[in-house]
């Protein structure tokens, strides 16, 4: 997985590209989140349109990231979920946990 980050209006937009599956991509996601928190960034938006594969481990990483960020008083939201990722969050009822946006401007305004 490739991770790239940019700051817009006080929100750190972290773009994920590739697979977040067991043994691949899980640690990069964790590192990206920790890096952002270390730099005192509180508002994180995961841009996920480039995620090509996600399994239960990857879902677990997303949940773990959410908890980490929330526990430090920050916010983690999701942007541009591929339809199959939405499905995976839906069946596990995690879709009610995450704030999900289809539109970047709206997502930025929400923080």
């Amino acid at each position: 997985m490739k991770v790239s980050a940019r700051s817009v209006d006080g929100v750190e937009i972290i773009s994920l590209q590739g697979k977040i599956t067991i043994g691949a991509g899980d640690s990069q996601l964790r590192d990206a989140i920790l890096d952002a928190l270390k730099d005192d960034k509180q508002n994180l938006l995961l841009e996920m349109s480039g995620v090509t594969a996600l399994d239960s481990s990857g879902i677990g990483e997303l949940v773990g990231s959410y908890t980490t960020v929330t526990n430090r008083g920050g916010k983690l939201k999701l942007l541009h979920l591929p339809p199959k990722v939405t499905d995976l969050l839906q069946v596990t009822q995690l879709i009610t946990v995450f704030e999900v946006y289809d539109n970047e401007a709206e997502a930025l305004k929400s923080f």
């Binding site: 239960s56 481990s57 959410y66 596990t92 009822q93």
Partner: protein, 148 residues
């Protein structure tokens, strides 16, 4: 040309990077059987979870231990077996990932996904290892999209 009866077996060693080998076999077989992309994808996903568990929980990442998978397509049903060399577990002890107590856990959704995407999920525990059995009736999904 569609295959009505087919059997494919694959054996890998216990590395996460081999999961995809088994997954693509599952997906290709589903496509050969006339399933649409989405249908094939979700079955591939169930296989991915089953193989990941066999590698991680069953064989505990010991690369000398093998994961064996067998796909049998017959009478419109896909029968998938995934075997590892591990001691097994008690499925009754597996907690429900939807319960409020578990929803924020970072693991415990693999078997749940398998059950979601397959019609039947079961385990057999033998002295030499664990076998996961998953069955999917392809008939009620074959060509759903556009009948093709």
């Amino acid at each position: 040309m569609r295959a009505d009866t087919e059997r494919v077996e694959i054996t890998i060693s216990s590395r996460f990077e081999n999961i995809e080998l088994v997954q693509v076999i599952a997906e290709h077989m589903c496509e050969n059987a006339g399933l649409d992309d989405d249908g094939s994808h979700w079955i591939g996903m169930a296989v991915r979870e089953g193989v990941a568990n066999a590698i991680k929980h069953g064989n505990k990442l010991d690369v000398a231990k093998k994961v064996y998978a067998c796909f049998e397509l017959s009478g419109g049903k896909l029968d998938i077996r995934i075997a590892d060399e591990g001691p097994g577990f008690d499925p009754a002890q597996v907690s429900d990932p939807l319960s409020p107590m578990n929803i924020m856990k970072t693991s415990g959704r693999g078997i749940f996904y398998m059950r979601t995407f397959m019609d039947h999920v079961d385990y057999q525990f033998k002295p030499n290892g664990t076998e996961l059995i998953m069955i999917k009736d392809l008939a009620d999904r074959t060509g759903t999209k556009t009948n093709g």
